[in-house]
Assembly symmetry: C2
Homo-oligomer: 116 residues x 2
């Protein structure tokens, strides 16, 4: 299912370019255009899911794929031992700007607390 | 499976008190003792899983439960419309201090970017 007005659906459809670093099964990942750390990638389901609030019982294997991809990307970028942060934003207070579920994978530097 | 030296396993076993706000199926949630926002809860699997890096194909329904619990907590605390951030920390750079998978649910105020 695609949403014709969705930026990430357009990236998945290769209508808009992105620095894709992972593409397998139901997920794709690409580097954030405004990286906040040496590693900053977005792992995204190929089917349009609005956000984490829209996750339901049908999404189990998709969630495994999303986190598995994040772990593989962290390893490929050499931050699996130093650590990384996974972030899902829901709504305005969290700064969500694209309404297509995306897991931020951030690593390669020490991160502060709170997480924003 | 419990890990006898794990703080969160002790909370789950009720050996250490916590402000538990959700307990259903395979997950429990309690408020963070050092809250970083009006809502700051930790959603935790009852079985000991080290962190997101240890997630495998067997964890699909657990991940659905974790995110579903986070969504319910956000709604119960009245931040489902204003937004919330979900965070998983892996390793030292992310500041992981308890090595039992926990999903931070943070809301009730605008959050900054980057997320730490």
């Amino acid at each position: 299912m695609k949403d014709g007005d969705c930026l990430f659906c357009k990236i998945i459809a290769e209508e808009i370019p992105a620095d894709v670093i992972f593409d397998r099964g139901g997920v794709i990942a690409f580097r954030d255009v405004n990286p906040q750390a040496p590693l900053h990638a977005l792992v995204v389901p190929k089917d349009h899911v609005r956000d984490a609030a829209a996750v339901d019982a049908s999404h189990g294997s998709l969630l495994v794929e999303l986190i598995g991809a994040a772990n593989e990307i962290a390893e490929a970028d050499g931050v699996d031992a130093s650590g990384y942060r996974l972030v899902l934003n829901v709504g305005a207070d969290a700064g969500q700007t694209v309404f297509h579920l995306h897991l931020h994978v951030i690593g390669g530097r020490p991160m502060a607390w709170p997480p924003g």
